[in-house]
């Protein structure tokens, strides 16, 4: 609970900055209108006007919250205008992508730790894979999956998501699997333990704290990957599509509320992984 005060102060500072930014960025429109009407608004009038513009450049927090409320609570969940609907579409693909990415990342990590050949050959490529801009790869994956006859947009989105999230999981798991020191490995040898026993009784449990930390990064990356996968034209559903539509056609407030929804979703996902981490490590006796 001690951590709540610093967090709240940072949140308060961000909100204050946001309001200041909204006044500053939205005031030009107010002044323009005033000039056309030939009036000279006072500072208080300018500030008041920047708080509730229809097409604000930077909508102030209360407008975003109101829009968020309106598009989640006041809309039917199955409606195309509901952020719950779009959020679910994104979450669905994110979870599939995360599962795929975690499976690939963990599988590669195990093979990299156990086979030198994999370490030499796969690891450099895994690193290179992350230098490729995802926005360049995403449309290609969508086009190719469509060409080979996969209609469901979920598949390419999950693939892009997995592409982003496998890497932190791979790196964390490799580090974790290699964390037992020479003495602990020697000890296993003195028991004449088999390779499987060394893995399940020593390396795997030793890797879990590392794995959880990297899964927190991974699941946030998976969400970003899914949203990137929803951005290219053609996607009509998901938070990414909502951001794109808001960007091109709708009022800017839509982008902001979709962005807000995405970050709430990310925080929730990271929170859930963190909770699983805490419970697991506690049951293993590793949390003090």
């Amino acid at each position: 609970m001690k951590s709540i005060l610093p967090i709240l102060s940072v949140v308060a500072a961000i909100i204050a900055l946001w309001y200041a930014g909204a006044v500053w960025m939205n005031s030009s429109w107010t002044l323009e209108q005033a000039q056309r009407a030939g009036t000279k608004p006072s500072l208080a009038e300018i500030i008041a006007d920047t708080m509730h513009q229809e097409r604000a450049v930077l909508p102030p927090p209360h407008q975003v919250v109101a829009e968020l409320w309106d598009s989640t609570v006041n809309k039917r969940i199955s409606s195309k205008r509901s952020l719950v609907f779009h959020g679910w579409v994104t979450l669905h693909a994110t979870l599939w992508g995360f599962a795929l990415g975690a499976a690939v990342g963990m599988g590669l990590a195990v093979s990299i730790v156990y086979f030198r050949v994999m370490d030499m050959s796969v690891m450099p490529w895994a690193i290179i894979s992350q230098t490729v801009p995802i926005v360049a790869i995403a449309p290609m994956i969508i086009v190719v999956t469509n060409l080979i006859g996969i209609e469901d947009r979920l598949v390419p989105k999950a693939m892009i998501s997995a592409y982003l999230c496998f890497f932190p999981i791979l790196v964390g798991m490799v580090k974790g699997l290699r964390s037992p020191d020479a003495m602990q490995l020697d000890l296993m040898k003195t028991y004449n333990a088999s390779g499987a026993q060394g893995f399940f009784k020593l390396r795997l449990p030793a890797s879990l704290p590392y794995l959880f930390t990297s899964m927190k990064i991974g699941i946030a990356a998976a969400l970003v990957g899914t949203i990137v996968g929803e951005l290219p034209t053609g996607a009509l559903r998901g938070l990414g599509a909502r951001i794109l539509v808001g960007d091109q056609f709708g009022p800017p407030i839509r982008i902001w509320s979709a962005l807000m929804a995405a970050s709430i979703l990310a925080a929730a996902l990271v929170g859930v992984v963190g909770l699983i981490q805490r419970v697991t490590l506690k049951r293993m006796g590793m949390a003090r």
Binding site: D186, Y191, L202, M286
Partner: protein, 265 residues
């Protein structure tokens, strides 16, 4: 005499050498080491760092491969002995798994070796009692002091009842008061179990207090400088360390160490 020795020796090394190839050229960790350890012996290996005492212990445990000479453990090659789970090894650090309770840690080798559930429980209870840790079964390692952790690691090495106990400076990281206490306990444990113990240390009082035989080693190349049969009685209270006999043996160990060092200067 030689004949019976050949049949009975638990560990027999003959002209054992081990050379590590390093970037700075070959290092003679062991050179022509010949030694016999008999059943029930408590043999200490003492010497400055680099004298090969730990390397020798690791060769016995088949954690290192000698480059020349021969060695048998229980009449087998060290690797066969390792596969037959002939020894328990205690490292300098306790190395308990933080995700296992003390009982779980002691159980680890038993699980690996496939003991039945009931037998595991029974053995854990017995060895924890042996090292005076009864009642700590459900605690996690971080809840125990360093000395208690090391005792738990000794219990772990004893749990599967190998005849040989190899100990590599097990009390080196502990303070002297705890160390005295553990030395006393170790002697009691040895008297009760009649294991053959090979014990690496760099403390002269510890070596003299514990051992029936003290192997003094010297570095570059690692070799045996002296082997001292202890005249001390089997029953050793801590204050035996103030008797003239004890000081005599300690003196001889010190002489051996000094002789080994004189090659350096």
């Amino acid at each position: 005499m030689v004949q019976t020795g050949q049949n009975d020796a638990v560990i027999r090394a003959e002209k054992l050498s081990l050379t590590f190839e390093t970037n700075d050229g070959p290092v003679n960790a062991l050179k022509d080491v010949s030694l016999e350890v008999n059943p029930g012996d408590f043999v200490s290996f003492i010497g400055p760092s680099g004298c090969g005492k730990t390397t020798f212990l690791r060769v016995i445990a088949a954690l290192e491969e000698p480059t020349a000479g021969s060695i048998t453990v229980n009449g087998m090659s060290p690797d066969e002995a390792r596969r037959a789970r002939a020894y328990g090894y205690v490292f300098q650090a306790a190395g308990l798994y933080p995700w296992r309770t003390i009982g779980g840690n002691v159980k680890l080798p038993l699980e690996i070796m496939g003991f039945s559930r009931a037998e595991q429980e029974e053995r854990v209870r017995k060895v924890l009692e042996l090292v005076d840790l009864a009642g700590f079964e459900k605690k996690y390692p971080w809840q125990l002091s360093g000395g208690m952790q090391q005792r738990a690691s000794i219990a772990r090495a004893l749990s599967f009842d190998a005849d040989i106990l190899l100990m590599d400076e097990p009390f080196g990281a502990l303070d002297e008061i705890v160390r005295d206490h553990l030395n006393e306990q170790l002697l009691k444990l040895w008297a009760r179990t009649r294991k053959t113990i090979a014990f690496v240390t760099h403390s002269i009082p510890e070596a003299v207090y514990l051992s029936t035989r003290i192997v003094v080693m010297s570095p570059r190349p690692g070799r045996i400088a002296d082997v001292i049969e202890s005249p001390l009685p089997a029953d050793r209270p801590l204050d035996i360390r103030d008797t003239p006999e004890f000081l005599d043996v300690a003196h001889r160990v010190r002489e051996g160490l000094r002789a080994g060092h004189s090659y350096d200067d």
